[in-house]
């Protein structure tokens, strides 16, 4: 069956009033968590997860993925109007979005941000539509060593490519793996790392960690900075929308380039945050209006937004085909898939054909719905941010506590959430990344299974990870990624040395 037929089938499945209603609800909730400080896409999805257990998987994934799109859009509202990034991935949007809003061009900035975001997102979905089946088919030939090598590649990329110090990334990641190991061992059935404490028997859920690290940790950081909302006002009229759309084609090259950057960073686990920063700095370097960047340049809004959304959507490609999420939010959704009893990975495309294509079809529709909803509701959500912190903060904390409780109906999880909150505050202030921890907590068991299976095949010989060209190149690529900071440093010293030598005669 061709991709097009599958897509039409998926469209058929989701074009019901119920599913479209879910989309709108998901988008609205997403914008809400994107706008509110302390709540973001990862913990918004984690909070909503317990509510989806009674739904069918297709409805549940529509709700969660639309929440993700909504949160990505919502993050730009606060960046542009309030100079406060609602999401880490929209930090780069503040650089030029807020100056534009101060100049009274808020509506133009918002329209440009949303429209270019939609283009980026649709490009990501197109990539997903036409590549996913092929990658899944290819991955069908994988056995345990190949899977472990792919996991290794994902984790090593995180360590090598992260802006955070590599050792701190390792610490965060290993804490995630250790969390995943607590509780019942999936192979032997033994209870591990529980130290005879009954409350540890069910393990430590990643949802609780996400809610604590992102939610409570974020609130504590916000409080410390003494948050004051001083926002600009915006009303988006159809005239402004049309005028901004007329300007967009001028920036076609920026949009194409940002899309490529975004898709690449989304598929490899760079994530939307890295993508938006990278796209912004490339745009600044090559733009004709370089000097205007940071002072309210439309291109400086388009570039990070396009890349942000392209990365956000294409992060689902490795999640669906290989079972490896490209961002923290995708990791939480992957955890949800496992809770609903689905097995992310190549077999999903065969066993859950309807689910996969329903999701892909909903991504086209969901992003368009997001654009319409967000354009219509900007003033409403901007006014939510003007509600005083002393009302919003306790309500957010209550939602976090209820969310943590409802994962297992356990009070111990709420205490854990508090602990993770304190840890999240320290992590954020000391430059430890949080996303690798979440990724490892979700994938820990699967990575361990793949590793143990491989060890069983080879009788404990690590050579199995180089036993055929495919697994060998994956493992080698992983090691290359791991030591990338050292390698690139080495290359730079060699070239820098040569450059300095060639530059010297000129200065003389």
């Amino acid at each position: 069956m061709s991709e097009f037929d599958s897509l039409l089938q998926g469209m058929n499945l989701i074009l019901t009033p119920g599913h479209i209603g879910l989309m709108v609800i998901g988008v609205l909730l997403g914008i809400l968590v994107g706008v509110l400080p302390g709540l973001g896409a990862p913990n918004g999805v984690a909070l909503l997860l317990p509510l989806t257990f009674t739904m069918s998987p297709v409805s549940a994934i529509i709700l969660l993925s639309c929440m993700y799109w909504g949160a990505l859009f919502g993050g730009s509202i606060t960046s542009i109007l309030f100079n406060i990034p609602g999401e880490p991935s929209s930090v780069a949007t503040t650089f030029d979005g807020y100056p534009m809003a101060r100049d009274g061009r808020a509506a133009e900035a918002l329209t440009a941000a949303f429209s270019s975001a939609l283009i980026g997102a649709l490009a990501g979905v197109l990539l997903l539509t036409f590549l996913s089946t092929r990658i899944a088919e290819f991955a069908m030939t994988f056995s345990s060593p190949e899977f472990f090598a792919v996991y290794l590649l994902a984790f090593c990329t995180f360590i090598g490519m992260s802006k955070n110090p590599p050792l701190k990334t390792v610490v965060a990641m290993m804490i995630g793996f250790a969390m995943a190991a607590v509780g019942m061992d999936t192979v032997s059935g033994n209870l591990r790392l529980t130290f005879d404490q009954p409350m540890l028997m069910t393990g430590i859920s990643f949802e609780v960690a996400v809610i604590g690290l992102f939610g409570i940790g974020e609130i504590l950081c916000t409080v410390e900075e003494g948050l004051v909302f001083r926002g600009e006002h915006a009303r988006i009229t159809p005239m402004v929308i049309l005028r901004t759309w007329a300007k967009l084609p001028r920036y076609w090259f920026t949009i194409v380039r940002s899309t490529v950057v975004g898709c690449w960073m989304g598929v490899t686990p760079g994530g939307p945050t890295a993508a938006s920063f990278m796209s912004y700095s490339i745009a600044r370097r090559f733009s004709k209006n370089r000097d205007n960047f940071g002072k309210g340049e439309l291109e400086g809004v388009i570039a990070p937004e396009t890349a942000d959304h392209a990365a956000g959507t294409s992060a689902l490609l490795p999640m669906l085909t290989l079972g490896i999420p490209g961002s923290a939010t995708a990791a939480v959704m992957l955890g949800g898939l496992m809770i609903w009893g689905l097995h992310p990975g190549p077999t999903l495309f065969v066993e859950q054909h309807d689910f996969v294509w329903g999701l892909i079809a909903s991504m086209y529709l969901g992003n368009v719905v997001s654009l319409l909803v967000v354009l219509a509701t900007v003033p409403l959500f901007a006014s939510i941010l003007r509600i005083p912190f002393s009302i919003i903060a306790p309500i957010i904390i209550m939602i976090c506590a209820i969310g943590a409780y409802s994962v297992h109906n356990s009070m111990f999880d709420v205490v854990l959430m508090l602990g993770f909150g304190a840890l999240g505050y320290l992590f954020k202030k000391l430059g430890y990344p949080i996303a690798p921890l979440v990724l490892a907590a979700v994938l820990g068991d699967k990575a361990e299974d793949a590793f143990r299976q491989s060890m069983l095949f080879s009788d404990g010989q690590l050579g199995i990870f180089w036993s055929n060209p495919l697994v060998g190149s994956l493992t080698t690529a992983a090691l290359l990624m791991l030591f990338w900071p050292l390698i690139s440093g080495g290359i730079r010293t060699v070239f820098g040395w040569r450059n300095r030598h060639s530059a010297k005669p000129k200065t003389l």
Binding site: P50, L51, F53, T54, L167, K168, V170, V171, M174, I175, F177, A178, A181, D185, V187, S188, N190, R192, L193, F195, I216, I219, L220, V223, E224, E225, G226, P388, S390, I391, A393, P394, I395, I397, M398, I399, A401, I402, Y405, S406, N409, M411, V414, V415, M417, L418, G421, A422, Y425, L426, K429, L430, Y432, E448, F451, R452, M455, L456, G460
Partner: protein, 177 residues
Amino acid sequence: MSNSSDSKSLVGTRWVELGLGLFTLLIGVVVMFGSVEQGIGWGDAGPEPGYFPFYIGLLLGSASLANAVLTLIRWKPLSVSFVSRTEFKQVLSVFIPIALFVCAMPLTGIYVASAAFIAWFMWRDKVRAKPYGKLMIGAVSLGAVTASFLIFDLWFKVPLDAGPMGDWIAMAGRSLK
């Protein structure tokens, strides 16, 4: 951020950095210890349960140790303030109430604790130009709690622990029937 310059530093970044490094080191050691209990070698059925976590603990421990050592090496440059007194006071003024809220939850149930938490948080903000009236505080806290009851308990069938109060209400409801 603006008040960091005019208030004294509470603790240097190096101490927090070192403390967190030692804390994660401790977790690594605990993980290794727990894995050794399960056996980290090669059993009849292949790798024993502690085989994989042991190396996780080892990696965690060594990376933490390296972090701590790096902190000691950069001791001087890391003397910058981690958090100022006023900032930390603000953080504690939110963290301690959250901790109390969490402790109260098992005793009073989620609903009562949440309502009290929200009400107290709003009442405390009475220093602002226009303090919230009693009616406003009551409406917001009860409204938030009612909304969460409707959403979680009623619509999505995720029961929340209502505590002794909930039990009494449920009992009263049963006896009325």
